[in-house]
Point group: C2
Chain length 103, copies 2
DNA sequence: GAACAAGTTTCTATATTTGGAAACAGCTAT
DNA sequence: ATAGCTGTTTCCAAATATAGAAACTTGTTC
């Protein structure tokens, strides 16, 4: 299995819990984190940006932009990329049980 | 705690695991699921669309559009809304440990 | 039924993302 | 140093999201 630098993403990365059949990564949802997720998954697949671009159906420049989080990608785009990577994505929403103060 | 219909979202909803201090929701990431997540969290907070709009800084019509998933929202927008709801979000990415066949 | 509250839809304008193409930078190996 | 591979950046066009305003629907209450 290809290795990659965890140190590079230490401030965003939350945890990794592999099993026999899959690797799992959990991230805090921030704007600049999606790109790291895509990059990590792509490298885990041993793909170049150009190869991933072929799978997704876009140019490598677009993959580069997505990985660098130059812009705020749409859910549509994110789904397309992870689908091409055959990666499952889940959202986890946590609501603190305290009242919100209205303005 | 305000109740809400689980049946309404049965095909998208994956699980709920509450604790003493918080409610947790987990979803499969699909385009049409973000709206349901926002709606559920908003109702959990007992907010109207107009009130949430005030917290976020947009009109209630914009909240309605986001909840109905009329468009593919950007991460930027999604973050703003959940931040206003004081909700934590995590992404969970799972990679199957099998080779991808390149085209 | 009039008034109100909550949510939806339509219209419009603006901002941003998407995407391709090509040039560019960094690195490696011959 | 040249060629090749990988990734980045810039420029540009087209598609789409964001956003407000107002009209509209639905349900509720007086």
């Amino acid at each position: 299995m290809k290795s990659y630098s965890l140190a590079e993403m230490k401030d965003k990365y939350i945890g990794k819990t592999g099993t026999k059949n899959r690797d799992e990564y959990e991230y805090e949802l921030r704007m600049d984190v999606l790109g790291r997720m895509i990059k990590t998954a792509r490298q885990e697949r041993n793909l170049t940006q150009e190869q991933l671009g072929e799978l997704v159906g876009v140019q490598k420049s677009q993959i580069s932009k997505l990985e660098s989080s130059a812009n705020s990608a749409t859910i549509d785009t994110i789904l397309k990329v992870f689908k091409a990577l055959k990666a499952d994505i889940h959202f986890n929403v946590t609501l603190e049980k305290k009242h919100l103060r209205l303005a």
